[in-house]
Symmetry: C2
């Protein structure tokens, strides 16, 4: 079990990851709160709720259920949940525990940040992406019909407790999807973390907690470090967007149906590495090293049929764009990225086409 | 023209009030922003937009219109407006000017605080309540079906510019409604401000800017002072809730149809003064002094038909309640209030019934 401190603008909070992490709630000042609510999905809570309550000693939790899936990350759902909280007696001194993956964390964080102008929350992430990335740093969001995560806030949790035990609930595909985000963090820091992922294969199996735990801990440490240096994403935090500019466009182009988020990021990592090579920012050898690790995670849904011009059109819609400029995060080598602006969309489209070609070749030759 | 500095957690901002206040935008660092949008109501903008653009020198404003009225303060409207902003090219570096009354300020502030996780806004309040109260301090909100202002954030404007010239657009009733909030501030600070209001009648006419301007400036100074001492309302800011506990219940009981917000606060001030007397917190003489000033603003919609038990039932729904406890703000005398908990609802109901009785008597004997 490992623990880090995250400095937010208003307060510090702990991120605890590893077997037994939930027990950290026993040291949390729960007595400061008038009532405790847990936002979760019914199936997930049915499987893990009793275990969570036993480890934390929390008996008086009131569960509030959200239907599983990205479709719940909407403002109408926020209104519904706020009304349920109100009816159940939640006031400004209530605490909201967010027990789930990215949807619960994003939606619940937004709910907590806006219910009666803000109540405290604790993140209890239950997916790989949530544990190593989204539960840390305070970003919350809901989708609109026009854009994913268009509406959101910064509202850090008062505590993040991530126990990899719950990852056993994930389908192999959902587990791998999260691993692309782990790989993203490894590309950002490079060094021994990247080498460790290159050398071991055990982390690909959800069941092997002994192998997995230190990898997740290392991955979340990358996030903690970046957030501690730049909570509001004005500069440094932007590097976490590696692979996401192409990734978002792929998700948009396929109406969020073909790819899990991490899978789109996986393709996004491959595409931006290819773009880096096209721009002479990244060497062929380093691109191959990155691509090998991404590919090692497992098979990705196909991209061969997608129109590269359409993908390019969707790129500037990224929220990180300012004055229509895309701020690309491009690897220079494993362990180092560079922010690049002014890349012609046609160059990005060409890099994507090139990736499509080489992917279908490697596929047909496999 | 007067100017105050408000210290927020992250930055300081100016509140400028008086004739010519809009010109303060000429000194504002507009060059930091990628694009400028103004959220407003079509009728209001038609009447004042050109004047505003002339005084501020802002030509490149993109207006975004909101239907007038409290009915616009909803999450579906936030989603619609966010999509319009996105379509018009608003990004994280855009600035949103909020040109209107409480609805525009609350709704637009919430929109600004959540659009792409927060963009800057400038408040240009155009009603009395907005100028002396709601535009300062950063509270934003939207209503849900279950509670007014249930969902909101703290998102202070980067600048507040209030020119009383626009108050000429207000109906006499809307103008008076705002004046109850001015009276509330006068009760809080007492002294020369309260005496000035007791002695003069000119401030009741919207047209008399010379008399009105110093009164509005004095009223907003009360708000600035309280916010500077307690931005997050944890303690001191709560005193601004004077008259609002009864006021909200009156609005709820009449489904927000009978009273303008300020009128409900007017009755709320009378009711809480009566409650103060019932609790032996306030003397009869001081209650009469407060009541005289409230009554001086003008006629209020009737309350004689309302069921005091129903009003009492609605009191604990106030957002300021914690663990079901109402934190009453009760005047001890003009210029001093006290927070009181543990008041039986039956006592509050009795005070309200007593007010109903004496109001109908004074009405029938008039």
């Amino acid at each position: 079990m490992q623990q880090w401190k995250v400095r937010s603008k208003h307060f510090e909070y702990d991120v605890v990851i590893g077997r037994g992490a939930w027990r950290a709630l026993r040291r949390f000042p729960l007595g400061n709160y008038s009532s405790l609510f847990v936002l979760t999905e019914a199936g997930l809570w049915k499987r893990w709720g009793r275990c969570f309550q036993r480890e934390t000693g929390l008996g008086r939790l009131q569960p509030v259920f959200v239907p599983a899936g990205e479709g719940s990350k909407t403002l109408p759902m926020v209104e519904l949940l706020a009304s349920q909280l109100l009816k159940s007696g939640a006031d400004r001194q209530s605490l909201l525990l967010l027990f789930g993956g990215g949807v619960i964390g994003d939606l619940g964080g937004f709910l907590a940040s806006t219910y009666m102008r803000g109540i405290d929350c604790v993140q209890v992430p239950t997916t790989v992406v949530a544990q190593v990335d989204s539960a840390v740093g305070g970003k919350t969001a809901v989708n609109t019909r026009t854009m994913k995560n268009l509406i959101g806030t910064f509202h850090p949790a008062r505590l993040v407790v991530a126990d990899p035990l719950v990852l056993a609930s994930l389908s192999p595909r959902a587990f791998r999807s999260g691993m692309y985000e782990v790989v993203k963090h490894a590309i950002l820091v490079g060094g021994s973390f990247f080498r460790k992922l290159e050398q071991t294969g055990d982390w690909l199996r959800t069941g092997d907690l002994d192998a997995l735990e230190p990898i997740l801990a290392r991955a979340v440490a990358v996030k903690v470090d970046v957030v501690n240096r730049d909570e509001r994403e004005e500069q440094l935090r932007h590097v976490l967007n590696l692979g996401h500019t192409f990734g978002h466009a792929l998700e948009e182009a396929t109406h969020y149906r073909r790819f899990l988020h991490g899978e789109a990021v996986g393709w996004g990592l491959l595409a931006v590495a290819r773009l880096g090579r096209c721009l002479n920012v990244l060497s062929t050898a380093e691109e191959e090293r990155i691509a090998r690790l991404v590919r090692k995670v497992g098979p990705l849904p196909p991209i061969g049929d997608l129109d590269s011009a359409r993908i390019a059109d969707l790129l500037p819609q990224d929220k990180k764009s300012v004055r229509g400029q895309i701020h690309w995060v491009i690897p220079e080598r494993v362990g180092k990225v560079r922010i690049v602006t002014g890349v012609p969309l046609s160059t990005a489209a060409a890099a994507f086409r090139d990736l499509q070609r080489s992917s279908s070749q490697s596929h047909s030759s496999a």
